[in-house]
């Protein structure tokens, strides 16, 4: 039988060679190449999105840091002051003086352009009121030349930045085409120009109708006080909880429950923490609404799981020999942990804490629910304690408020706010990386 089966003719196979690829190998190799290309394409897409994101942040955000200012040297004599104060429409008299001075200056520069008081008001706001306020507050400046640096209106600012275009502009009570001629002439004379906007960095929210005066300073302060609360609550509580769970906890139902809770809390949507804050801290405990203290408490509860998870990892990384050595020379369990394990785990704990803080700094949704919306950030707190209890906003909430407003000029401010927020986040992350690089120990 075996002979017979050996004699059966084999199916004919195509001649193959190791040197030349047959069709099947070609197909397999092509599939291999294709698969690899998919991977490269996926990574390229991811990096492309990152690049587009970075590009649009920088391109749209940088204009927020400049503003259009009007530079005028102006002298008001005592007689003019008295005369203006004696009139019925005081501010009108002031703007009359200003316009005469501006006309003289333009004539000296040899610029021919006609304008009236209304045009000036459209370009740089109610100039008479500003002047009157200044001179009544500083009467000693009368008769001397004062260099005024006035912010141009947000629409003129938009014209300079390309937001407002000649072709699409429709004459309105805010800006007319004739005003743009005047602005061009003033720009040529060097009277109107762009300057760095310190007001954006130090200012507070300005209200719906004044995008030019909006600044992020007050909400940076709000974020700062919130981060103080988060740091001083979540670091000690997080470290204490991790020490217990990692070093002391017996295996029982209670510790199991704690562990499950921590891993679940890490994945609860942030807005649910906002609801918690609203119901417990504001409705139940009657803590002040919109206060950085409450915001800090909510964010503390949110960051705790992050900090606990990273602290436990760094406690686990300390080798048992350290604990054994401490116990061997007569330390108690508590002493071995607090005197030896904790100091060795500290760099890892701090890194985790900074990353948790950075996460908390960028969180928006829970803050909206407890009332820390942008428009409450109208000024700086009076002192250290009122910094915690006075209504304030935080950077991301302020950005949200600007983004939700109808006036397009606020969008630029929102992007600018994002640049500032990202600078803070970047700094925190770099500090965390440096800490890790410098103090990380491999056992």
């Amino acid at each position: 039988m075996t002979d017979a089966s050996m004699d059966t003719p084999r199916p004919r196979r195509a001649k193959t060679s190791l040197v030349s690829e047959d069709a099947r190998t070609k197909k397999r190799n092509a599939a291999e190449k294709r698969f690899q290309a998919y991977g490269i394409a996926a990574i390229a897409t991811g990096l492309f999105f990152l690049a587009v994101l970075a590009f649009s942040i920088v391109r749209s955000g940088l204009p927020a840091f400049t503003t259009t200012v009007v530079d005028v040297n102006f002298t008001l004599t005592q007689e003019q002051f008295d005369e203006a104060e004696g009139q019925l429409f005081k501010t009108k008299a002031y703007s009359g003086y200003f316009i005469t001075a501006l006309q003289k200056k333009l004539e000296a520069e040899n610029v021919q352009v006609a304008f009236d008081e209304a045009a000036i008001e459209r370009i740089m706001g109610k100039i008479g009121g500003t002047l009157r306020e200044y001179y009544t507050a500083n009467p000693d400046q009368l008769g001397q030349e004062v260099a005024f640096k006035l912010n141009a209106s947000s629409r003129v600012d938009g014209y300079f930045k390309g937001r407002v275009q000649r072709e699409t502009l429709q004459d309105s009570r805010f800006l007319t085409l004739a005003d743009l001629d005047l602005v061009d002439a003033l720009a040529e004379a060097g009277i109107v120009h762009s300057a760095f906007d310190w007001g954006f960095i130090t200012g507070a929210d300005s209200g719906v109708d004044n995008p030019g005066g909006a600044g992020i300073g007050a909400s940076v302060v709000g974020s700062f006080f919130m981060m103080l609360v988060v740091l001083f609550l979540s670091l000690p509580i997080g470290v204490a909880a991790s020490i217990y769970l990692e070093e002391f906890a017996p295996q029982n139902r209670w510790t199991d429950m704690i562990e499950v809770n921590i891993s679940n809390l890490a994945a609860v949507p942030s807005i649910v923490f906002g609801i918690l804050g609203l119901a417990v801290f504001i409705q139940f405990m009657h803590l002040p609404q919109s206060a950085p203290l409450v915001g800090g408490l909510v964010l503390t509860l949110m960051t705790l799981p992050t900090i606990i998870i990273s602290t436990r990892a760094s406690l686990k990384a300390v080798p048992p020999s350290i604990r054994d050595a401490a116990l061997g020379v007569g330390a108690s369990k508590m002493q071995s942990v607090f005197h030896h394990v904790l100091p060795l785990a500290m760099p890892g704990i701090l890194t985790g804490t900074i990353i948790g803080l950075a996460q908390a700094l960028g969180e928006t949704a829970p803050l909206l629910l407890i009332g820390m919306v942008g428009f409450v950030a109208r000024g700086y707190p009076d002192g250290f304690i009122s910094g915690f209890t006075d209504p304030n906003s935080a950077m991301p909430a302020q950005i949200y408020t600007w983004a939700a407003r109808a006036d397009q000029a606020f969008y630029e401010k929102a992007w600018g706010g994002i640049i500032i927020l990202l600078i803070f986040l970047l700094t925190m992350n770099i500090i965390a990386i440096i800490l890790r690089r410098r103090f990380e120990r491999r056992w």
């Binding site: 587009v52 949507p269 508590m334 983004a403 929102a414 994002i418």
Partner: protein
């Protein structure tokens, strides 16, 4: 006395107690610490702990309990006749608090004297005009009984705070004396201190459980309150979402759930293929320099706050899509806010989330399985497709589920990018809204807190919490089960 000063005083007492306890212990040992049972600092810590812990506990309990007591007393002072139609006792009490704040501010400014603010026989119109002069807001709702109640409120609060300060300081002092009394050289200070530190550690660990309990309770009570005002069958069964603050709203959750799922679906369609292929390439093909560059760069996407993605969706993705699909292009899209706008931004946000989770899981597949497959003559891609991915599948499913839960709970992107109209539609170019976006809009409006329009946010929060919790538990279960196979 402000609470902060009370805390400072208690801490100062504790510091003094620490030094006293330490010295007393050293004295009892004749100045030689070798005769002591524990190290001298433990005697000091014992005294300090006994001063701080009971006093602080008492203070916290008192601060939480006092408002309830005060509210109870003040509420009893307001006759039913003083509550206007359409108003409620809660609103009147809020008015009382506001009036009391106004009196406080006026006293602080020096506009009225403390005695005058307390004087129960003071003329009503006199008080209100003086308040107005001091720049305090006086509404028409301040009536005679409200003002009397506000005065009483201030008096009780002031007395309560005074008693609290006294009692807390007394308790701290008693703690110091107690600690000092038991201090002598044979006292086992270390054991006592370590036991109390242990109690503090356990308390800290239990905060996680307390947080969950807090979340569940705050959701449940308000949800029950909501269902008392609005039928649950309507909430789960109605197909329209049309809140109107005048009453008669239709609050069906289904359109919101549909918007949530649709946007999450778009996000996952973007994020899962890109994230998965990126993870496969990074863990199987990439050279070391490529990996060490591309991996952290992708993870930068995960560190960017969601508000940035929201703005990116609204101001970059939206206009870009509008220029292609809008009225000037194919005409499919009406405005820049749409399901696809929010979905794309959310997808970009989720890429690193999917890729780093799957990366970990792919790396956990044992090398022996790859080697076996190569030994049989499989190419790299065949190994990945037929060996590694099937082995890693449960973990990858877990990662996708976690990403889904993240997408469902995401708020800022949808608030800015998805629009405000609740719709049941299949068109991804239309604006829709989600559960999270509606929680924000219902709770940040001016609506009365006791109305169904505001309370519905808690029912929505409950829905969201249960959905994400279910997904997380399921995902963690799958991931954990899979890991056990190779450990």
């Amino acid at each position: 006395m402000p609470v902060i000063w009370l805390i400072v005083i208690v801490l100062a007492l504790a510091a003094a107690g620490f030094i006293l306890g330490r010295t007393r212990a050293m004295q009892s040992a004749g100045g030689d610490s070798r005769h002591l049972h524990s190290l001298p600092t433990y005697y000091g810590s014992n005294v300090a702990l006994k001063a701080v812990v009971p006093a602080m506990l008492l203070m916290v309990v008192w601060l939480v309990a006092q408002p309830f007591y005060v509210n109870g007393v003040v509420s009893g002072m307001i006759p039913d006749s003083a509550i206007a139609d359409g108003s409620s006792r809660g609103l009147v009490l809020a008015e009382v608090r506001r009036a009391a704040d106004g009196l406080d501010n006026a006293v602080a400014q020096g506009a009225i004297s403390e005695e005058f603010a307390r004087n129960a026989r003071a003329d009503f119109t006199d008080v209100t005009t003086r308040l107005k002069e001091a720049g305090q807001i006086v509404t028409t709702q301040i009536t005679q009984p409200v003002l009397r109640a506000a005065q009483e409120y201030r008096v009780i609060n002031a007395t309560g705070n005074m008693i609290m300060s006294g009692v807390v300081i007394l308790v701290a002092l008693l703690g110091v004396f107690w600690g000092l009394r038991e201090t002598n050289k044979d006292f086992r200070a270390r054991n006592v201190v370590e036991k109390s530190v242990m109690a503090l550690l356990i308390a800290a660990a239990s905060i996680a459980v307390l947080t969950t309990v807090g979340i569940v309770l705050s959701l449940i009570f308000n949800t029950i309150e909501f269902f008392r005002l609005y039928p649950a069958s309507e909430f789960f069964g109605s197909l329209t979402w049309a809140p109107s603050f005048g009453g008669g709203s239709e609050l069906g959750v289904l359109p919101l759930l549909w918007g949530t799922f649709y946007i999450s679906l778009v996000a996952l369609i973007v994020a899962v293929p890109i994230g998965l292929f990126a993870a496969v390439y990074l863990s199987e093909y990439a050279s070391k320099p490529v990996r060490s560059f591309a991996k952290p760069m992708l993870e930068v996407l995960a560190g960017i706050p969601t508000i940035v993605y929201g703005l990116f969706a609204l101001l970059t993705i939206g206009p870009m899509l509008l220029s292609v699909f809008g009225p000037d292009g194919t005409g499919w899209m009406g405005g820049q806010r749409a399901v696809i706008t929010a979905g794309l931004a959310m997808g970009i946000m989720l890429i690193p989330f999917v890729s780093s989770l799957s990366d970990d899981i792919i790396n956990a597949v044992p090398q022996a399985m790859r080697d076996g497959s190569y030994g049989l003559g499989a190419t790299k891609s065949e190994t990945i497709k037929q060996v590694i991915l099937p082995a890693a599948l449960p973990g990858i499913v877990g990662a996708v589920l976690l990403a889904t839960s993240r997408a469902i709970g995401e708020t800022m992107i949808v608030v800015l990018g998805a629009g405000a109209a609740a719709r049941l539609s299949l068109n991804p170019f239309e604006a829709m809204t989600t559960v999270t976006a509606k929680i924000v809009s219902q709770l940040t409006g001016d609506s009365d807190f006791a109305s169904p329009e505001a309370l519905v946010a808690f029912a929505l929060g409950m829905t969201l919490f249960i959905m994400t919790l279910g997904l997380n538990v399921f995902a963690l279960y799958i991931v954990r089960k899979y890991r056990e196979q190779y450990d």
